[in-house]
Assembly symmetry: C2
């Protein structure tokens, strides 16, 4: 195995109508697809929200909700449950779809659920700290991403509704991701 | 450029916890992400639904709704509009989120909107034929995918509702894609 690493160039593959990253070494075409993030606003029986302080880039040290990239062969719900387990050692039960957030600037679609906490919590490898926090005490000034604000706002707007209408949000392509 | 084509092997890259496709020639790691499909149930002023007969694999000759893979840097809504334009030369106006369909077997998340037709229609390069069809006349026996049935059912259930609750559906991992 040479494993020198791929050397990508930007060109339009034959028969296509747009530029792609193509490896000059082996001809591999890197179809960069938008990525799906699954996450949850998790509340305990007291209505406190599970938040995690990020131990990894981007936005290390900032607070976020349990969320992350879907893996191949996984359902959106399974991905949201796995992320809560990985980031906060939390066992959760999904309750309703809260929102679908389209963020073209970073080619992401984020899908957030409302969930109930069914276990103790503890920081996983990607979290410096995890906390159960009353809604009004959430550190809004140090949240990692705009979508964390959106999910929290959509959770609050849906409170008490057994079947909330999920919110479709699209970030302006010019907006900052943080 | 040698462009012999990548030669992938399945192994666990250093520092990771799961197997990936890695090119033995150049070391490129192919992170296979779930793909996002955006689509729409498009109705004209008479309530007829826009359907397209597929000119491409898979399911050539079967009927589908305008839908396709999101491109990088695109919003979900823009992708749904683009697909209607590409497949049926249709200008559409999105009205509400209808459903989010998770299909782990083929690693897809499909996002369907309700939309209004704002133009004439004509087959694009990926369609053999396009048609405006009363709901009860839709050729249910020759629809291309289960998600086409879901989107049609969710459209019918949402009829007359200005703000329908989008349906979250997850296909059983063992189910057939057709
Ligand atoms: Zn290569
Ligand atoms: Zn290669």
């Amino acid at each position: 195995m040479t494993a020198s690493g791929p050397s990508f160039e930007i060109r339009t593959p034959e028969g296509e109508d747009r530029e792609r990253r193509v490896c000059g070494q082996c001809g591999f075409i890197d179809y960069v697809n938008p990525k799906i993030v699954a996450g949850a606003v998790v509340a305990d029986d007291l209505g406190r929200i599970l938040i995690c302080r990020r131990a990894i880039a981007p936005r290390t040290g900032f607070w976020t909700l349990p969320a992350g990239y879907m893996e191949e062969g996984e359902s959106v719900e399974a991905a949201a449950r796995r992320e809560a387990r990985e980031e906060a050692c939390a066992d959760i039960e999904l309750d309703a779809l809260l929102g679908v957030y389209s963020i073209p600037r970073i080619s992401q679609v984020q899908i957030f659920f409302r969930a109930r906490l069914k276990s103790e919590i503890a920081p996983g490898p990607e979290s410096q700290e995890v906390r159960l926090c009353a809604f009004e005490d959430i550190p809004r000034a140090t949240l990692a991403f705009p979508s964390v604000h959106w999910a929290l706002d959509d959770w609050m707007a849906a409170r008490g509704q057994p079947a909330p209408v999920p919110v479709m949000r699209t970030q302006n392509p010019g907006d900052q991701p943080y």
